[in-house]
Symmetry: C2
DNA sequence: GGCGGGAGTTGATTCAGGTCAAATAAGCCG
DNA sequence: CGGCTTATTTGACCTGAATCAACTCCCGCC
């Protein structure tokens, strides 16, 4: 594994407080692979053999049932995913596929479980990480249960705008993916975007401009109890953690 | 605190592996109170001062936004709730209220955080607990995003039937609560229940009989990746953990 | 530059599920 | 037991969102 990669991974909150030896051992057992776009990395229901970390690219977490499919999250570098299944040595609840060409670190679950049993710093980091994930899913669920699709969309746009710190931005993901994440059909997303014109939102291709933030805010009524600030697990938002971590 | 209570709490997976001294110290700082029905214990948005454990009764976790409200889970004895907020020293994402008269142990968050920093066994138990919570919310979200309300209801009935190990049972919670948990209105739940008559389900008051499990299964298509087997965080199901833990 | 294919849009229509209002049914308490 | 309050059901109606189908656009590729 490249040293730069190692440094990046080491800088992750998950590994930052880990004992140096343990970290080195963990990395020795790890693989670092490149994958083409649209490559399935994980199938839900399979045993959780590896903890995965995206170091480059983007990964979609999704779930299916009875022929239907829904996007649960998009994971950007540098972050880990499916930690919970791995810790519990339980089957994955979500599938994962690359959205674009991506590099992924894979650490054997047994190694993770060993380290977490022997390294208090690591155990604590995992706790904090899991707590963040948990809260992030709770927020997503609240979003789904409490807001209409138009409100969810408005809240999403505001959040992204806040994260990139600009009233005008490119949508970071395909619209059909965003639709799936927000729990609606692509058709409905298209209409919802048009519906937001009355609230000062202009859309051209993937360019979005929030012309009247106050107005959109009145519609979305954002709150940290649903919309953040933690970012993990949510669909795509702003300055890569890489920047924060380096 | 009564010794019987202490023993019950100690038997929780969260505290089982904890150092004896640490546990004793934790319990010394804890309060054990009785609360009347419909008493709000926690308001979302407030700082997470205490870890709560229900030792008797039942507690609803719910969330609100913009005048709407939704049930996220019902917690039965003996289990802890809002662990994640507590660990992160972050605001509660959910409110909590007693459904019936309940006894609640409250442990100061600072004590929890101390113990978790100093007791490896405790830290590991927390990890496992959080991972379970996380997976449980992910399942709930998948349920919401992938199934129709009728399918969710069917799956819920099957799951509960499996948990109580009987084709006939009493609904463990009020229907309006169940409706809210399942993400529908009480009116719609009522109609959905009637709609399941075609699938062999008979309802009288809170008595439910699954006449044709095969048929209901064909509709609900239950899967462990959505419906269990872990129970934590879900709405009400079957033999109290107290039995398992004693 | 022309072609092929997927993404996105649009329109027409359907349907699940929500809303509103009123009628019952169940509890609960004095 | 009777009276009240709150849950549940029912009916009528409405609406948000899904579906189906056609069409356009964009983009990569030959």
């Amino acid at each position: 594994m490249r040293n730069a990669d190692l440094r990046e991974i080491r800088a992750l909150s998950l590994f930052r407080d880990m004992d140096e030896d343990h970290f080195a051992r963990l990395m020795r057992g790890a693989y670092h692979h490149s994958f083409p776009p649209q490559m399935t990395l994980i199938e839900e229901g399979r045993p959780a053999d590896f903890l995965h970390i995206v170091t480059d690219g983007a990964v979609e977490l999704f779930a299916g049932w009875n022929g239907r499919e829904t996007t649960m999250a998009v994971v950007r570098p540098v972050s880990a995913f499916i930690l919970a299944a791995c810790i519990n040595d339980a089957p994955y609840l979500m599938s994962a596929r690359t959205l674009v060409g991506s590099r992924i670190v894979m650490i054997p679950g047994t190694d993770i479980r060993d380290s977490f049993a022997n390294d208090a710093g690591f155990a604590q980091a995992i706790v904090r990480e899991l707590a963040r994930y948990y809260r992030s899913v709770v927020r997503h669920t609240k979003d789904l249960k409490l807001r209409s699709s138009k409100e969810r969309l408005a809240a999403y746009l505001l959040k992204h705008s806040r994260n990139v710190e600009a009233p005008e931005f490119d949508l970071p993901i395909e619209k059909r993916l965003l639709a799936s994440y927000l729990g609606m059909t692509p058709e409905n997303l298209s209409r919802a975007l048009k519906g937001l014109r009355d609230d000062g939102v202009t859309v051209e291709g993937h360019k979005v401009r929030i012309g009247d933030p106050a107005r959109l805010t009145a519609l979305a009524r954002p709150t940290t109890l649903i919309d953040g600030p933690d970012r993990s697990g949510s669909v795509e938002d702003g300055p890569s953690p890489r920047i924060a971590a380096s």
